[in-house]
């Protein structure tokens, strides 16, 4: 686990460090994407299996060359699921019958690098990696009685997608992609909040 974190962070930072030598472009771009999130792994089996259509991802990316850009990425997602009434054991002798609701909001901030392996002007496929933090606000309700826990978790991210340049000068673009978020969440007996995301949005040049 620690190794994965180190590797992802190292890749992200190396992306930044190794860029200036080949930097040609120097443009600053703003990405805004609608994000559809699909819980997977322990997130899906232990907490919330419902997909979430309520989220966005964005970022400010600096293009160091035609092939490489990096910057700060941010996002927000709301997950919610209500489970039918069931009896839960609170202790060896104590039981509670309740409708259980899980509500999780994640706010992500990460350093992200995007690499465009092909120099094509019409459709530019890319791969991306990122690492940073995930502010997790977890609320759990038994009936109308809730408890909440807010924590900051590690987040690593990998993704693929395509950017379709638009406009006369091709300074803006349409983005379509998929990313995988890896977030350990070792709390209350849970394991992770891993999820797969489908996103679409726009990118436009700021300078």
């Amino acid at each position: 686990m620690k190794k994965i974190k180190i590797i992802v962070i190292a890749i992200s930072f190396l992306s930044f460090i190794s860029l200036p030598a080949s930097a040609q472009n120097g443009t600053l771009k703003l990405d805004l994407n609608y994000n559809y999130s699909i819980p997977v792994s322990g997130f899906k089996t232990d907490l919330i299996s419902n997909t979430s259509p309520r989220g966005f991802r964005g970022g400010i990316m600096y293009a160091f060359s035609n092939k490489l850009e990096a910057g700060l990425s941010f996002g927000y997602q709301d997950y919610y699921q209500k489970y039918p009434r069931s009896i839960y054991a609170l202790s060896k002798t104590q039981d509670v019958s309740a409708v259980l609701s899980n509500s999780i909001q994640t706010t992500t901030f990460l350093l992200k690098a995007r690499y465009f392996p092909l120099n094509i002007n019409t459709v530019k496929p890319y791969i991306s990696v990122g690492a940073g933090t995930n502010l997790v606000d977890f609320k759990q309700y038994l009936g109308e009685f809730g408890s909440s826990q807010t924590s900051v978790q590690f987040l690593a991210q990998g993704g693929i997608g395509i950017m379709i340049p638009i406009g006369r000068l091709k300074t803006s673009g349409i983005n379509v992609g998929a990313i995988y978020d890896y977030t350990p969440y070792k709390k209350l007996g849970y394991n992770n909040l891993n999820n797969v995301n489908l996103q679409a949005g726009i990118a436009f040049q700021l300078k």
């Binding site: 409708v99 009936g143 009685f145």
Partner: protein
Amino acid sequence: MKKILSLLSGLASIAIIYSGCAKEPLNNLNSDESRIYITDHDSTVSFSNYKTYSISDSVAIIDNGNSTMRLNEVDSAYINAVKKYMSQEGYTLVTKEQNPDLGVNVSHIISTTTGVISYGDYWNYYDGYWNPYYWGYPGYGYYIPYGYGVYQIKEGAIAVDILDLKNVSANNKINVIWTGLIRGSGIFDTSIADSQVKALFDQSTYLKTN
């Protein structure tokens, strides 16, 4: 300037989405779904060792540590529902003068001084709400052998407690051997009293005479 405006409008859009798109769990619950039923019991006793019971003829209204006794329509509905389901589980109702094996208290908890109900706090005052003299055992104290969790309280609760009267002399105290707690929206309603008490008994399958 145009680009700065674009950036600001983009960030404003994000702020609107951020504040508006979260699904509020409490808005997605109806009254029935808002309720919870908590039961606990003394795992060292066998409920089949008890055959008869008596139930208090009124309800203790517990409000911030003070109590009064009351019997209105809602209280009667809850007492009658407890009688119904105790009978279904095989227990025979007798008067308290007939030496019942079990005593049953029904309490209506409005709130506590701390705004939090923990059974620990609740039980600290229990002999103030339910004088042991009522059950014919002056001088004895109540004892609850199992622990409880802590629950935030907003709208009150109905508590049903079953006491071991059969072994008071041997135990030198009045042991509480089962507790049921009903919490949530709209519970102080005559029409739903039966279903609320039924829920407590349904999840306590060990509570029967055989």
